[in-house]
C-alpha cells in the first residue's frame, strides 16, 4: 500500500503518524516544498521574540522521528496530480505513484488589493522565511505597520512589541479579531493594545503604500492619515492552496470539498487541514476553518479512513486561543449565539475580563472569554459532548465563571460516603 501525503504541516505529519499506527506495513511519504523540516506556524511568534530558535518550531525532531517511523520526507514541489494514473509529478521531473493520496497543502496569505504591496518593505507573516525577513526589518525603534488585526496579526503583535518597534495596527473591521470575538471582547483587546502603546486603527483600511525614500515607505489610510514605516506586515487572512487540483476531477469550493471521511470527490484522494472544506461541528456545514486543532483532527481522521479503519466524522469545532500582548482570549463554536438561544455574560472592562456563554436550549453551543486561562478547554468539552446542562443553566446564567463546576458536576458522580 502506497500512502502519499502532500504537505508537511500538522495535518500531513499527524496523518503520516496515524497511518503508520494503523497500517504498519504501508509505504508512507510526505512531500513538502519548504526547505525546512516540517515545522509549525503556531510557533513562529515565539521564534520572533527569540524564545526559541528555528528548530523550536519543528513539528517533530527531524533527526530521528520520521526515520524511526519509516516515514519518508521528500522536499520537493509538486507540479501536478494525475488522478487517473494515480501519480504525482514533482518539480525535479520525477514522479510518485500512490494508492491513497492525502492533500494537506495548507493555505497561503491573501494579499489585499493595495497598491505598493510589492515594495521590499512589505511582508506577510506566514513562513519561516517571512519570519526571518521580519526579524531583519523590525529593529528596535523602527516604525512598523501591521495590516490586519485578525488571528495571525494578533499573535505576532507581542513579538513586534517586544522587539521594541513603534507599532500601528490597521483593521478594516470595527474591532480586533472580528471573526473570533464579539464587539465587547474585541474592544477589550483594542483598549489593552492601546494601553501597551500600540496605535490601533479599527474600521480603517489602507489605500496605498508608496516609497518614501531612505528605506522607508508611506502608508496611506482610508481615514486620511499617513504613517511612515520601515516594515509593513500584511495579515489579512488566508486562502486554501487548491492550485494543484484545478482542472482535475476533485471538486473545490472555498477549499477542497471533502465528506465526513475527509474523502474528496475522487475516492482515492483525501484532504485535510487548511486546504480542506470539512464539516463544522456546530453548523453541520462544510467550511474551511484553517486552525491548528482542526488540522490535526483532519489529519488523523483522513489517515484512519485511508487505512480503511475510519468512521464518519461529526465535525470539528471551530475554536481559537489568542495571546494578545499578554491578554489571553479564546472562542469556541457558535460564540455569536443562535436565534432563540439564551446567553450568559460577564463583562468587566476595568479588569479586562469577559466571558460569554451561548446556549441552544440547555446545551452550550458557543463561548468566548477574555482574561481567562484556567480550564478553558472544558468549554470545548461542554459544547462537543452536548452535555445536558438543565441542572446548571440557571447557575451559569447567574455566574458564567462556574463552567468548570458545571462540567465536573455534570460528568462526575458526586457521591457521598
Amino acid at each position: 500500500m502506497q500512502h502519499l501525503i502532500i504537505g508537511a504541516g500538522p495535518a500531513g505529519v499527524v496523518a503520516a503518524e496515524t497511518l503508520r499506527k494503523a497500517d504498519p506495513d504501508a509505504d508512507i511519504a510526505i512531500i513538502g516544498d519548504e526547505p525546512e523540516p516540517p515545522y509549525s506556524r503556531m510557533a513562529i511568534p515565539y521564534y520572533l521574540i527569540d524564545n526559541i530558535d528555528e528548530s523550536g518550531t519543528y513539528l517533530r525532531d527531524p533527526k530521528q522521528h520520521f526515520a524511526s517511523l519509516d516515514i519518508e520526507v521528500v522536499q520537493q514541489r509538486v507540479d501536478k496530480i494525475d488522478t487517473t494514473g494515480k501519480t504525482v509529478a514533482l518539480a525535479d521531473g520525477s514522479s510518485r505513484s500512490y494508492d491513497k493520496l492525502l492533500l494537506a497543502t495548507g493555505s497561503h496569505p491573501v494579499s489585499p488589493p493595495i497598491p505598493g504591496l510589492d515594495l521590499p518593505q512589505v511582508h506577510s507573516c506566514w513562513t519561516l522565511a517571512d519570519a526571518r525577513n521580519i526579524i531583519k526589518l523590525a529593529q528596535s525603534g523602527s516604525n512598523v505597520v501591521l495590516i490586519g488585526a485578525g488571528f495571525i496579526g494578533c499573535i505576532i503583535l507581542e513579538a513586534l512589541v517586544r522587539r521594541g518597534v513603534n507599532l500601528a495596527v490597521i483593521e478594516m473591521g470595527n474591532r480586533m479579531v472580528p471573526r473570533m470575538l464579539d464587539e465587547k471582547a474585541g474592544g477589550l483587546l483594542e483598549t489593552w493594545c492601546k494601553n501597551k502603546g500600540i496605535d490601533v486603527h479599527t474600521s480603517c483600511s489602507v489605500d496605498g503604500i508608496s516609497d518614501a525614500g531612505d528605506g522607508q515607505v508611506e502608508v496611506s489610510l482610508s481615514d486620511g492619515g499617513k504613517l511612515n514605516a520601515a516594515l509593513v506586515i500584511t495579515a489579512t487572512g488566508v486562502r486554501a492552496n487548491t492550485d494543484l487540483v484545478e482542472g482535475s476531477d476533485i471538486k473545490v469550493d472555498q477549499g477542497i470539498l471533502v465528506d465526513r471521511r475527509m474523502q474528496t470527490s475522487n475516492a482515492d484522494v483525501y484532504a485535510a487541514g487548511d486546504v480542506a472544506q470539512g464539516v463544522d461541528f456546530s453548523t453541520g456545514n462544510f467550511e474551511v476553518q484553517a486552525i491548528q486543532p482542526t488540522a490535526t483532527d483532519h489529519g488523523r481522521i483522513a489517515a484512519l479512513n485511508m487505512a480503511g479503519q475510519g468512521d464518519e466524522h461529526h465535525g470539528t469545532l471551530n475554536m481559537n486561543v489568542l495571546d494578545t500582548v499578554g491578554l489571553v482570549s479564546c472562542s469556541f463554536g457558535l460564540w455569536m449565539g443562535v436565534d432563540g438561544g439564551d446567553s450568559a455574560e460577564l463583562y468587566n472592562p476595568d479588569e479586562f475580563q469577559y466571558i460569554s456563554l451561548q446556549f441552544d436550549g440547555n446545551t452550550l453551543v458557543g463561548a468566548s472569554s477574555v482574561g481567562k486561562t484556567q480550564h478553558v478547554g472544558v468549554l470545548r468539552g461542554l459544547i462537543e459532548s452536548k452535555i445536558d446542562l438543565s441542572d446548571w443553566k440557571d447557575r451559569l446564567m447567574a455566574d458564567p465563571t462556574a463552567i468548570m463546576e458545571a462540567y465536573v458536576g455534570s460528568t462526575q458522580e458526586l457521591g457521598y460516603s
Partner: protein, 159 residues
C-alpha cells in the same frame, strides 16, 4: 500493570492537602494556585470534587501540540509536558475537552498532571482516601473516559 488516579468525590472534605502537595512537588512551594489537581466546591450541594487529568488515551493535548512538547511517560502512561519544548501557545488548553491542561503565567508554559513520575503526591497527602493511586482496571476511569469519548464526536473516528 499501569496505575491511575482514582478519585472518589464522596470522600473529599475540601481540605486542599492534595493541592498543596502537588504544588510542593512541582514548584517547591505550598501554592494551591499552581496545583495541577483542583478541588471544586459545590456549595449548594455541600460537595467537593478533586479533579485532574485522567491521562486519557485520546491525548487531545498531545495531538494538538504544534511543537511536540507533550509526550507519554512510558513507565506511568502520563502525558508529560516538556518545558524545553513548550512555547506557551496554549492550543492544547483549548483542545483538551476536560480543561485539565492549563497555561501558567508564572512559567509561560502549560502545566498538567504528570503523576509525579509514579508516586502521585496528591494521593499520598489525601487524608480520607478520596484520591488513591490504584491499578488502572479498578478505577472506573475506563468507563468515564469511554463515556467522555463517546460524547465527543471527533473521537469516534478511532472507535
Amino acid at each position: 500493570m499501569q496505575k491511575s488516579l482514582h478519585i472518589d468525590p464522596g470522600k473529599c472534605t475540601g481540605c486542599l492537602q492534595c493541592e498543596m502537595a502537588c504544588s510542593y512537588e512541582h514548584t517547591g512551594t505550598f501554592n494551591p494556585s499552581r496545583s495541577y489537581i483542583k478541588v471544586f466546591t459545590f456549595h449548594h450541594e455541600g460537595r467537593f470534587a478533586p479533579y485532574t487529568c485522567t491521562q486519557c488515551d485520546e491525548a487531545w493535548c498531545m495531538r494538538a501540540c504544534p511543537v511536540d512538547a507533550i509526550s507519554v511517560d512510558m513507565a506511568t502512561g502520563a502525558k508529560v509536558v516538556s518545558d524545553d519544548k513548550c512555547v506557551g501557545c496554549k492550543v492544547c488548553t483549548i483542545a483538551c475537552p476536560f480543561g485539565t491542561i492549563n497555561y501558567s503565567q508564572a512559567t509561560g508554559k502549560v502545566v498538567k498532571c504528570d503523576l509525579c513520575g509514579g508516586d502521585p503526591q496528591c494521593a499520598a497527602a489525601c487524608p480520607t482516601s478520596a484520591i488513591t493511586y490504584v491499578d488502572a482496571d479498578w478505577t472506573g476511569y475506563d468507563r468515564m473516559m469511554a463515556s467522555a469519548a463517546k460524547s465527543l464526536p471527533s473521537a469516534e473516528a478511532t472507535a
